[in-house]
Symmetry: C2
Subunit: 620 residues, 2 copies
Amino acid sequence: MRSSIATVCLSGTLAEKLRAAADAGFDGVEIFEQDLIVSPHSPEQIRERAAELGLTLDLFQPFRDLLSVEEDIFRDNLRRLESKFQLMQRLGMDQILVCSNVATATVDDDEVRVDQLRRAGELAARYGCFISYEALAWGKYVNTYQHAYDLVVKADHPNVGTCLDSFHILSRGDDPSGIADMDPDKIFFLQLADAPTMEMGILPWSRHHRVFPGEGDFDLKNFMEQVAKSGYNGPVSLEIFNDEFREAEVGRTAIDGLRSLIWLADKTATRVPDSPLELPKLADAQSPRGFDFVELRTGRLGEVTKALHQLGFRLGGYHQSKPDFQAWVQGDVRIIVEDEGSTGGATELTGLGVIVDDATAAAERATALKATPVPRMTGEDEEDLHPVFTPDGSELYFCGPGQTGRGSTWIPEFGFEPDETSSSETSDVLINSVHHIALAQPRHMAAETRLFYSSVLGLEPAVPEFIPSPAGLVHKQAIEGENVCITVSAAPEGSEQGGFFAEHYPEHIAFGSDDVFAVAQRAVRRGLKMLPIPENYYDDLAARFGLEPGFITKIKALNICYDRSSNGEYLHFYTAPLGNTFFEVAEVRGDYRGFGWADEPIRLAAQYRALRDDVRGIPR
Amino acid sequence: MRSSIATVCLSGTLAEKLRAAADAGFDGVEIFEQDLIVSPHSPEQIRERAAELGLTLDLFQPFRDLLSVEEDIFRDNLRRLESKFQLMQRLGMDQILVCSNVATATVDDDEVRVDQLRRAGELAARYGCFISYEALAWGKYVNTYQHAYDLVVKADHPNVGTCLDSFHILSRGDDPSGIADMDPDKIFFLQLADAPTMEMGILPWSRHHRVFPGEGDFDLKNFMEQVAKSGYNGPVSLEIFNDEFREAEVGRTAIDGLRSLIWLADKTATRVPDSPLELPKLADAQSPRGFDFVELRTGRLGEVTKALHQLGFRLGGYHQSKPDFQAWVQGDVRIIVEDEGSTGGATELTGLGVIVDDATAAAERATALKATPVPRMTGEDEEDLHPVFTPDGSELYFCGPGQTGRGSTWIPEFGFEPDETSSSETSDVLINSVHHIALAQPRHMAAETRLFYSSVLGLEPAVPEFIPSPAGLVHKQAIEGENVCITVSAAPEGSEQGGFFAEHYPEHIAFGSDDVFAVAQRAVRRGLKMLPIPENYYDDLAARFGLEPGFITKIKALNICYDRSSNGEYLHFYTAPLGNTFFEVAEVRGDYRGFGWADEPIRLAAQYRALRDDVRGIPR
């Protein structure tokens, strides 16, 4: 598969875009004309630079409003087109994207279009160039891929083919299965884009909200399968118009993009094994058996270990060669705490270990998906957990099931035996799972983070929600496997109120328990500082669900929050913030599937107040 | 007019919202229930606090999904409703918003709805409460204001009325003229919101993109006129769901909101003079005769005055009592430069003077629209130009026409005579107007800035555009009067690439000339550093417009950019950046109406490069 990316996907200057595409590992780029026009570098310099970087220049785009016009306008269009062929010769490239007419079309006649397309092809041939004709979803007369293809077939010129763009096809709800039957010699180019489902006109949706494959809601696997079946063997290219990508760090966006293509190709390769596209096949995604451990780094060790003790964790031991690391355990839940010294630095979630059947293969898949391996720091006789960096620089570890089937093969390095503390028969083990890990990212990194974990770990995205907070709306989305679940919060940004959570939005670990009351009572007895829940919440809860006063009194006394679905209940409490993290303990009753997000506004407001004086003259 | 604002419009905690609403000058607030639920303050404390702040609590909202349900569900709904009446009693408030059913409606029968509404009214009466029934635009069975009103009339209960919400009515394209004929005793509440035209489903449009009146595209003047004609005399309240407001500084948002209400009331008062609403009437907006002067502050005086000299300005003189201020003039264009000492601080646009017929009345209008007067610092015998602060802290001055009719009555304070330098017959006066002032704001302040200038100066918004830049899309919109024009750029934000223009997006002055070539040639002779325009731009320009090679050579030699519309042409050049500002010189030919925004991507890319090393290994 030859991978490509349109320069319009990336921020910065054309020079910066080329560098980022090459650094990420793309084979080529599409030159978005505007990027060239604003560049101080000549076409010859761009050509030379691309060659230096090992990038092919795959497509020059877009050329607008060529066909469906009166003859005099068409002749002027040919003059414009010829000047672009001359420019393309200077760039050393030969393919141009011509999209269906939006602005100037007045002649709705396929015969005229076919004639004009053929004449454009003749002009292209004189320059050794090729025209890739695409139906825009909002083209005035031509707006379906089938129509564009029919025109190309009728034009019957070797320098004229069609360009398929997943957005223009899937945004209209068109069925892409007709692609499989196309003549591959007439498909000149393939552009891929995903998009979230939005109630929005197609044009603004396309111009502002496209995302990389796997970050939206289109069925791109099926789309790609149709393309592969056709026998197409050209570049597989990303063309994303996205307001956030335009403001993001270009190097990270490029890596995110290539990851999305590799992920999609892998998904498709399993279904079209003998495609001429030679889609790369990765090691199989292994949905984790569970979380093996979570790692925290803290400059306030006492605060963290006290909270862990209050929640019922026991200190297992210290790592024998890295004594700054200590393991805290309760049943099969393990927390590694890294003591960075009494710096006062905030406590942060720095690593996540998952249990998979084949750790080496899982790590190989991750690196094939553009994750950077963490340089090995383990001793010769220590377990290699194959850590890789996640997009925000935290670490993801892969642990085999070991002899117990429960992972944690590294426990002896901490100087204790797995069963010393992990027996679930121990009477004081009240927390027995990690219900979910709640990650947080600035808004522009959330989609990338979700795609990273879902592609590497084979998880699937759930339905997103918006949660109001005192500093702005928070977009939340879970990505789920059979045994593990990660939620990703996209925190507000900006220089004003939103900046508050941009800096302070905490990540957290939600523990699972069969008896949240027992955990809470023990924790309170041991002096745990819980996140205080307002009385008003309980008043509303009683009214909302018609709950018994006695039950309300009981949960209120322990700052326990409550949510209910048609299938079950979710009872949970939060600890007070510990730097940039905190803990939640949740008891799921029945078949409740969520994460207590109905209570998120309460939590966010309480954390906001905990971190900021809000009283301003009101008592309490 | 009693002004009110829903707490959901504002960021922060409920305590912070109340404080901001009171500080801005609102008479009351709507309590958005979620804000109360997450608050640690009891209803009694909120009641007390509002009283201390002089705020009435006008509406408790929302109560969802009451009507159109089976009897057993309705009874449970009444139980929920009763608990809210009890809560409202603790808050000391008596009106609740009930919106039409979206989620649980199963019974599409007006008789059932009328019966249920009446029974809810009876329950309300027992608590001395009132139900304000509103049709949501996406209500399952009830979604027009007329339908909601009909149900209220049929329910015929003194404790049941309707709530009118401009968004729910105008977003559907419904004609609001039926409001004028309504019984004012049956209209219990009025909520106002504006919104920009967007191709989007009504629900997400409503939840994320409402704006204050005057910041969107709805015809709220007509809407308000219908309400005033009905005889309604209750609160006029803002209910805005806006993602950016939720992240903005709460105090500024509140002032912006009250300004929007005052602006709208003023617009309406002229058309419904004897309305019982007693809409406040301000001093008439005076569309300025022209810009009187522009003020810059600089820590790099030499750089600025050199550029002014190169553009043909002459030093008029120094202010006699404030010698840090110097006046530079060319024809009727006057630039005041404030020397802040050789601090190296960036040059910034700090003030704008406009010529109006009655400066005192114009300043009165500004302060009535919540502009803060700048404390008077002028001497006894000096002109008072009535400066007020704009939302970003720069200053706006009002100057009368004076004896010349051309303003600048303050010139003698700088020790020269108006005609000494301002005669347009002077041969070297090549710049003869300020074509427009280009302001820039972070994205979340742009709408507020546009409303400030348009309400204070009586300008009208033009059609906005998005301009691509290497650091993100820039939203631009002009606000125009007959003789003056201001453009407002909403610059990208964020912590990554977008942050670049968040910090460095410059404001500028665009001068008008009848001969941009003569200005450019003189400037180049005097050594002006222009913003370099790439060759690629000229290659594209030639292809795009079919321009003569000779003409291209001529404009390329002077870094002049070119735009054309069906009616005319725009020739212009930009100076190199001077800190956070720069100058543009433009020649308009024919009836060209724009601002050369087709060339903005070129300018932004060039400025980006000028401020940031982009070369990375490519020569030049």
